[in-house]
């Protein structure tokens, strides 16, 4: 490197950002601890099984939405075929428990098998589907989904349209939901923590670079196929695992419930509502939509009404909040913080503003206040990014 660049080395080293405000970080950690504490206490506070049932399904979908987002939200490859992994996970533990005669609490020991089956299916699935992009990728995931549903209907080991029953768990009806709730909570917390770690990692950065411009990322040394496939397999493994848990909880799986075409639409809606590509967005989306959908199904005897209302919600999100709740609210907070502050300072102040190295005419006209405004916006965006 040239003298001029080495000459700036020390200043450059000092200018490296430290990673955000200590106060904001403390607030975030406190928020996460509070949410986790509330989640752990939930079945102890609300002991009614009808209420804890909401909790179990909410946690299942928090885990699935986070896993889906880790691949689709970060990479920009919108998968509508994750039900393949969910259903395959359910069928995998169902077939294994039946054929290996596993019963009682021991069935939970089969859950890693559900993850492994999800991951194994994702490898050839990904190798085919990830060769194409955007709309074509979406269409291929849907096509593969229907192939799997058709197989579940027709294979003898899946017992065709009658499906599989889960081993009976002789637990008290009053507390039956609680073990499922805590396992689902562990899956949800694990999937969200993993999404957070990936987003902060080099792997996550490469995924997000692929989302912006895959060809450019490739030209900067990113092995795009390998990165995409790794994220796809990881996402599928978590989805498969949760599919196995879901099977034990509802005690049966049929081709149309294990491989449900609405499953992916719900998961996509959760991520879109909360904020695609953010860590907390899909969590928030799942916590709103899944209990909401269950409530509507319970209140209105017409099951289609809840689906119609969710369709309306989807349209409303696309129209009024296309980036989702988390990014939009972060933007509003940024606007509120910087409201009333002039981007361009008065001429008297501009004269005293540091000149620095300008890169174009627009930048030459920039004063210190605009830079300060950008720094404030950048700071707020950094805070928003980790939400």
């Amino acid at each position: 490197m040239s003298e001029s660049s080495t000459g700036t080395q020390d200043r450059g080293a000092r200018a490296v950002p430290s990673g955000g405000l200590t106060g904001a970080r403390g607030l975030r950690i406190a928020g996460v601890v509070a949410v986790l504490a509330a989640a752990v206490a939930f079945p102890q506070v609300f002991t009614n099984p009808a209420v804890t049932n909401y909790g179990v399904f909410a946690m299942i979908f928090v885990a699935v939405a986070s896993a889906w987002n880790t691949f689709s939200g970060f990479s920009g490859y919108i998968s509508l075929g994750h039900a393949v992994f969910f259903g395959s996970g359910a069928y995998a533990v169902g077939v294994a428990a039946r054929d290996w005669h596993v019963a009682g609490v021991g069935v939970f020991g089969l859950l890693p098998l559900a993850a492994a089956v999800g991951a194994l299916i994702a490898v050839p699935f990904g190798l085919v589907a990830l060769r194409v992009r955007r709309h074509t990728f979406i269409v291929i995931t849907i096509a593969l989904f229907f192939i799997f549903q058709l197989m579940a209907f027709n294979f003898s080991f899946t017992q065709g349209s009658s499906g599989l029953d889960a081993p009976f768990l002789s637990w008290s009806l009053q507390t039956f939901n609680n073990p499922f709730y805590y396992i689902a909570l562990a899956c949800a917390a694990g999937a969200t923590a993993l999404a957070w770690l990936i987003r902060r990692s080099r792997f996550g950065l490469q995924l997000r670079a692929i989302r912006d411009d895959e060809d450019r990322a490739r030209g900067l040394g990113v092995r795009t196929m390998r990165v995409k496939l790794a994220a796809f397999v990881l996402s599928a493994a978590i989805t498969g695992l949760v599919g196995g848990l879901w099977f034990y909880y509802i005690a049966q799986v049929e081709p149309q419930t294990g491989f449900d075409p609405l499953f992916d639409l719900f998961v996509v809606l959760m991520a879109f509502l909360g904020g695609l590509g953010t860590v907390s967005g899909p969590v928030l989306g799942a916590l709103i939509i899944e209990p909401g959908q269950l409530y509507l199904t319970t209140v209105f005897t017409n099951a289609y009404l809840s689906e119609i209302l969710l369709g309306v919600l989807f349209l409303a999100v696309v129209l009024f909040m296309p980036r989702g709740i988390i990014p939009t609210s972060t933007e509003w907070i940024t606007k509120l913080r910087t409201r009333g502050r002039s981007a361009i300072p008065p001429a008297s102040q501009r004269a005293a503003a540091p000149t620095g190295l300008r890169s174009d005419e627009g930048a030459t006209r920039e004063g210190g206040a605009l830079k300060a405004a950008r720094r404030r916006a950048g700071k707020a965006q950094r805070v928003g990014k980790v939400l």
Binding site: M1, S2, E3, S4, S5, T6, T8, Q9, R11, G12, A13, A15, V16, P17, R202, L205, Q206, R208, A209, R211, D212, D213, D215, R216, A217, R218, G219, L220, G221, V222, R223, T224, G356, L357, R358, S359, D360, E361, G362, A363, T364, K371, R374, R375, A377, G378, K379, Q381, R382
Partner: protein, 256 residues
């Protein structure tokens, strides 16, 4: 001077359009080489073939003694060939710093430190925390140059680095190229700004209809009749010839 990058008889066609025809170019190690030619002469196609974005129908590409014909862009980059694009391609939703880290091969702390050095070098370090999509066009050009440099490539291919940017920035980019070249980085530059090319480059190659029509030092190339023909067509009017010769003289380039 040893040859660092070489294309030998490269052919490339898109349907019925012959973009490159028997194209042979040599770039010496430590050179700042220019690649000029009229629009549609195959300059960007040659860049695409060298960097793996397009597959050559025939011919070979070598980096030093290593044959790199038709290998994938990520492998080309890993071997030490970086490039920028005519229309800047940055990662708009990532911050400027994150853009820098995509190509970095170093550990987290070291990578951030080196990235910040490069951003300071090109003059946009103050914007490291903002999304790259908020940068102006000129700043994007600088960012694209910076994130290619972060991986310390042996040769950098710049596609119209002075295109669409103001005089101050053109001079700034030229200055940075000179500094980097003095530090050992080889450049191959596609550019329509003749003063930029003629003032900066040691060697200039002229393409016309996918074929090399002239190559050599700027002083020789600018008087070559084939170069004038390439820009003006054969048998140009005397006043057109005078105008073209004047345009190829240093000091007559657009904006510089």
């Amino acid at each position: 001077m040893s040859v660092l990058l070489r294309t030998e008889g490269v052919h490339k066609s898109y349907g019925g359009v012959q973009a490159l025809e028997d194209c042979t170019v040599e770039i010496g190690e430590g050179e700042v080489a220019g690649l000029i030619g009229p629009n549609g002469s195959g300059k960007t196609t040659l860049f695409n073939v060298i960097t793996g974005y397009a597959k050559a129908d025939a011919g070979e590409v070598y980096l030093g003694d290593r044959r790199i014909t038709n290998i994938a862009p990520d492998k080309v980059f890993a071997l030490g060939i970086g490039r920028t694009f005519q229309l800047t391609r940055i990662f708009a939703s990532l911050t400027v710093m994150e853009n820098m880290l995509v190509a970095s091969k170093h550990g987290r702390a070291s990578a951030r430190k080196r990235a910040m050095e490069q951003l300071e070098f090109v003059g946009i370090a103050g914007h490291h925390a903002v999304p790259a999509g908020t940068l102006s066009y000129g700043q994007r050009k600088l960012l694209e140059l910076a994130y290619v440099l972060v991986a310390e490539p042996a040769i950098v291919l710049l596609d119209e680095p002075a295109g669409g940017v103001n005089l101050t920035l053109v001079n700034q980019i030229a200055g940075r190229i000179r500094e980097l070249n003095a530090a050992g980085v080889t450049f191959l530059i596609v550019e329509h700004n003749m003063e930029f090319v003629m003032g900066l480059c040691d060697q200039v190659t002229v393409l016309d209809s996918g074929t090399v029509v002239a190559a050599g030092p700027p002083a020789i190339v600018r008087t070559d009749r084939r170069v004038l023909d390439a820009y003006l067509g054969e048998d140009p009017a005397a006043e057109d010839l005078e105008a073209a010769e004047a345009a190829l003289e240093p000091g007559a380039g657009e904006g510089a």
